[in-house]
């Protein structure tokens, strides 16, 4: 076995950081694609897979939490028992939240309709994190329980 320290643990986001932006070769990868760091998916962005974006309207939201329950990617941000928005770092744009929302407080818009400048601002998902980093982390913790 290779020294564990020499090896990449999640072989995606972290690897690129550790190895100066380069993807690592097979000698540095853990045996059998085993991931040795739990919860590493938190740093794996799936937001850039999105073709359509879910937009949440705070004024219409009745806090029923249907979207939070159904979201397959924990991308509905909830803080202190309140839905607060959508985490575009993870939102893949599947539209399930739009389908289940009973009051049309969520709608989908194509990413291509979003101005490039605006997209840079919010995608690949850091905008909400940067706005409320603590809140998002707290929300993830809550969501995970």
């Amino acid at each position: 076995m290779k020294e564990q320290d020499e090896m990449c643990h999640i072989y995606e986001a972290d690897c690129r950081q550790e190895y100066g932006g380069e993807k690592v070769g097979w000698r540095k990868l853990p045996m059998g694609a085993v991931i040795t760091e739990p919860g590493s998916a938190q740093r794996y962005t799936t937001g850039n897979w999105r073709a359509e974006r879910a937009v949440w309207l705070e004024d219409k939201c009745i806090q029923c939490f249907f979207c939070w329950v159904h979201c397959p990617d924990n991308a509905i941000i909830a803080v202190d028992g309140q839905v607060r928005g959508i985490d575009y770092f993870f939102c893949k744009g599947c539209g399930i939240c739009d389908q289940v929302c009973p009051v049309d407080a969520i709608y989908m818009i194509p990413e291509s309709d979003i101005e490039a400048t605006e997209r840079t601002e919010v995608a690949p998902g850091d905008s909400i994190r940067s706005l409320e980093p603590d809140g998002v982390d707290a929300a993830r913790k809550e969501g995970g329980q």
Binding site: W26, M31, V34, P38
Partner: protein, 393 residues
């Protein structure tokens, strides 16, 4: 040491009792049934502490083996034919996750038409599944190899599953003289098992089976191929180490009277023993004939094979499985590739024989051997590919 009269299936069940793995998950299928039946008896009699899982199918058997092995257990299973076919997708999960599961594969033909007798179409179909494959010529080799399979699979340079293949009925059900080692000696030889990434180690949590796409998948397959290549050396070392404690040493390729041979036959498993009889007979007539039998088939021991072939001119390769439409059956195709890569001038003739348990008669073998002899002298041009013992009318 004990000398016993036992079938290969009984010997595997006994080896499993001596090994006492943590988990065995298996489903009975002819001709493997006795392995599971006898071992289940050891479990119910309290002779082993193994957790035996009587599953409802081979797909589940291999799934449980995968889960138990990932959890950190030493795991053994056994199957044949359709059972192996039913395990198919899980075979790749086992090898891709680098889980050192050991399997007794009692070779039997694949349906259709349905047939319970020996050929190698089951294991040959799984030859690219990333499992190490070792073929045994007789019951003694089965017992010895099954014990060696654990340290091979579990070697930290390898960590790959191993299939120990032997001929259904011909070897699995024939009573043979077998030398067995004491339980202590077997346990000393295999040592205790230490999993590398056990799921049950809660202080070091890990995730098995993540999604790996085009950006990393190929690196993991390359890594797996490297582990398989390293197995060549490991199988050799363990075969030698086994010799020190048992007096029966094993290499990668078995050869018989090859030192000065002009012509040779290559065959896997019990057929190699039959071919030795004919080689002796031809030697009595002044024809320098020999036999080689790759013990290891995956990884393919090309170098050891070329060495064993020495200075022969003509090689006949006997395959107990067809690769329908390929124009050359699996063993011959691999030997041919090894010869070609080495720039060898050895001429190769391939015959498929013994499908569905069809007997390979001594006279069939002899006439093939003799046609190789005539080919070597330029007196005959046999077809490069064909079938032995089939009615062609």
């Amino acid at each position: 040491m004990r000398v016993v009269a036992e079938t290969a299936n009984g010997a595997v069940a006994e080896a499993m009792r001596q090994i006492e793995p943590h988990v065995v998950a298996a489903y009975p299928i002819t001709p493997q049934t006795e392995v599971v039946e006898e071992f289940a008896g050891y479990v119910s009699d309290g002779r082993v502490r193994t957790r035996f899982v009587p599953v409802e199918s081979e797909h589940s058997a291999m799934s449980i083996c995968v889960g138990a092995s990932a959890a950190g257990a030493r795991v053994i299973t056994a199957t044949s034919s359709q059972g192996l076919a039913y395990m198919w997708e899980m075979l790749y999960i086992a090898s891709g996750n680098r889980l050192p599961i050991v399997m007794a594969l009692v070779n039997r033909a694949l349906s259709a038409p349905i047939n319970i007798h020996c050929d190698h179409s089951d294991s040959m179909g799984a030859r690219d599944s990333g499992w190490i494959q070792i073929y045994c010529r007789d019951a003694q080799e089965v017992y010895d190899t099954f014990i060696q399979a654990l340290p091979i699979a579990e070697h930290e340079d390898v960590r790959l599953p191993v299939m120990v293949c032997y001929d259904g009925f011909i070897v699995s059900h024939s009573l043979a003289r077998i030398e067995m080692m004491t339980d202590e000696r077997v346990r000393d030889f295999i040592g205790s098992y230490k999993a590398i990434y056990p799921l049950l180690d809660r202080d070091h949590p890990v995730i098995y089976g993540p999604l790996v796409l085009y950006d990393y998948y190929m690196e993991f397959k390359r890594q797996q191929a490297e582990a398989m290549n390293r197995a060549l050396e490991v199988v050799f070392e363990i075969g030698k180490r086994f010799g020190k404690i048992s007096g029966r040493s094993y290499g990668l390729v078995s050869s018989y009277r090859m030192e000065d041979a002009d012509i040779a036959l290559a065959a896997l498993s019990s057929t190699a023993r039959t071919a030795e009889v004919i080689a002796d007979e031809l030697r009595d007539q002044g024809i320098r004939a020999g036999v080689i039998s790759p013990r290891l088939f995956r990884p393919f021991p090309a170098k050891a094979l070329l060495q064993a072939l020495g200075g022969i001119k003509v090689l006949g390769v006997l395959d107990r499985a067809d690769s329908i439409g390929a124009g050359m059956a699996p063993l011959a195709a691999d030997i041919g590739a090894a010869l070609q890569s080495a720039g060898s001038n050895i001429r190769l003739y391939n015959r498929v024989y013994g499908l569905g348990g069809r007997d390979l008669t001594l006279s069939d073998l002899k006439s093939f051997f003799l046609s190789l002899e005539r080919a070597g002298q330029g007196k005959e041009m046999p077809a490069h590919f064909g079938y032995l013992g089939v009615r062609e009318d």
